[in-house]
Symmetry: C2
Subunit: 447 residues, 2 copies
Amino acid sequence: MPAVSDLDHIRSLIHDRFLIELSESMQPMPVREIVATIGSLPSAEAALVFRLLDKDTAIAVFDVLDPAAQADLIETLGHTEFAEMISTLEPDEQTRLFDELPAKVAKRMLASLDPHQRDAAMALLGYRPGSVGRHMSPEPLTASVDDTVGDVLRRVRAADGGVAAYAAIPVLTQGRVLVGVIDLIELLRHDVPEPVASFMDADPVSARTDDDVERIARRSLDHGDLLLPVVDREDRLVGSFPIADAALIDKEAVAEDQARAGASEPLRRPYLLTSVRRIARTRIVWLLVLAVSAVLTVHVLELFEATLSQQVALALFIPLLIGIGGNTGSQAATTVTRALALGDVGLRDILRVAWKEVRTGLLLGLVLAILAFTVATLIYDIGIGTVIGVTLLLNCPIAATVGGVIPLVARACRVDPAVFSTPFISTFCDASGLIVYFTVAITVLNL
Amino acid sequence: MPAVSDLDHIRSLIHDRFLIELSESMQPMPVREIVATIGSLPSAEAALVFRLLDKDTAIAVFDVLDPAAQADLIETLGHTEFAEMISTLEPDEQTRLFDELPAKVAKRMLASLDPHQRDAAMALLGYRPGSVGRHMSPEPLTASVDDTVGDVLRRVRAADGGVAAYAAIPVLTQGRVLVGVIDLIELLRHDVPEPVASFMDADPVSARTDDDVERIARRSLDHGDLLLPVVDREDRLVGSFPIADAALIDKEAVAEDQARAGASEPLRRPYLLTSVRRIARTRIVWLLVLAVSAVLTVHVLELFEATLSQQVALALFIPLLIGIGGNTGSQAATTVTRALALGDVGLRDILRVAWKEVRTGLLLGLVLAILAFTVATLIYDIGIGTVIGVTLLLNCPIAATVGGVIPLVARACRVDPAVFSTPFISTFCDASGLIVYFTVAITVLNL
């Protein structure tokens, strides 16, 4: 038994939500003392104490608990009120405090929750937001390495649910370690007494709870993996990831990318059912960012106000030139953002990307410059024609290079490339484009 | 036997590729005469004649052919040389000339082709580009309504391939009409002598050959349909559409949308492996369209050149104002294009979309106007502050409404909203924004 004073101390820490201190004060406690503490606390407090243990201790403690206490603990962990209590913590704090849940516990907890509860409860399983752990489904039917086809067939027959839920059947050791996967159809093609281990895929593809869920979703879709087993750090099975969930997550990721490429946030509901105020809210932040950064262009133009008064005609080409520059930049950004999402490029390729974009920009600039020079010389004069042509020839490679490099920099800073790129590129391309334009004009026209 | 003169006439039409005349001249011919004609022509020419028959006639003719002639015909139809001959026709002409292939023929032809040949051969099956018919896989294993579980199990055991290929087994009548689908797992749960008709899903989801493949791909992914049966106009099974193909098609559609939203065309190969010239080619068309349409802004500014000379400071705000206008427009376009893709809005909603965007634009304009008026009044003077504020208040609803409505108009004109919207919106918003700006300036500042 823990000393009463210890128990009182723990209770007061729980009461005051001093979770860091609570976690620290339990670190040196031996397993049997923790078990005794958990036994003498009310369910919610016991669950909180259990959740603060590091994974190895939690495994040891859970194994010592009697089945009734285990069931009680699982139920409390999955309870909405417990989830709400935890959700008052900062997400950072949650991730730091809560180690990954032991496979045995995570598995039983997942299975005990209905899909609505699951969303809330997942937050406190110790998986970071955006990880596979946060989005996995309960494990499907499993087989043991010692099972025969007949054993597994019996379980499949007893279960309900369609082929999507049992397309791939994970094969586990006694310790829940994933060692293989059986394709459901193989059960039909083998005799009842055959051991499943003889024909299982012994090198199965799986996802880890801390893998990035969008990446795994994309991989499932690319490879057509109907049902991916999800394992923890020790390769123990804790859940599954069906292709239908992969499709859903990929769809949301795409919606977010598309909205951000258009400089807004995605709507969570159908367009016509979303209120004007809510739509405006998805757009205003971006407009403000753009408006504030566009003030830079006002300042740049102020520098050249004297030049402008001398030659007002220069103002006529401002929208055309910054339009072309901005577009060249966003084209490059779109291509590189996409290549990043597909894993075709990474931060290590930054110089190769820059070199490719310099040349692409030069080629584009050359075509546009020849065209613009010809047209502007015919309509205005050779002076204006030269200024416009040279400006385009210089601006396009600058815009393309910045547009191509910025998404990589954003990724390196762990910012969503789509969020960061749009305002930054348009501001940079506008401002640098204007500086180039007026510098060229002053030089060529001797202003 | 057809008269020798008829046969010569047909041969000369084939030789000269007068396919429309050929098709017309066969219309009044009775079935037995067509069969005889096909019998007396070399394989390639016979296949061409067969392919020009309307569907009902083709069914009748195929049924009369002896098995060897049927096999010969199928082989020739699937032959690369035949595909090449047909591919010299305009796509429009192909679609107009070639009716849907009878289910029996399509099915056997699909099965006889390897995946590489399939792409080429699909073009001449009479399915329009972008239809499910062009992208379907051969039909999976099927069951007949009279089959027992044992019958189907035997066939599943004899086949190779994993669960993805047999997740859903179509159940057909004698005439190949789809009447149900069996979930593979149900074969495990029912006794061998049971008829499959007793537990099949008698109201199965299927796709039609002429359905839009991107829409069906999206639906498969949304509903998690692992394997969708594909039927022709008479509900006869011709192929299947696995979820992995749906994922692939959806990925390409998304890549295209994203590239076009960024005003370029998608790259077909990984970024770093694509040459500079090829990358430039995906961007130059869009830049030229934008550059040409941006000339409009030069003309608009020329109209106000006198005003500009009087008040050069007005030029300073041009990039800021058109930047905000263009972004407001493209935000609305992105949201509505997405809503269109998801089926949330259609052309019938054009007035509701316009009304929503007018109000959203007004709200955004109001926020930006208050902010801009305050800042510009403090830094410059109340005159400039008023001009900037009023311009934003007017421009934002115009830009948002045009941005929201254009994708719907594009869809109505059967143009890809993403292709049409970007250059049109930026040009329109830039030009209209400048007109509003200078009109407001002339009025407020009494220029």
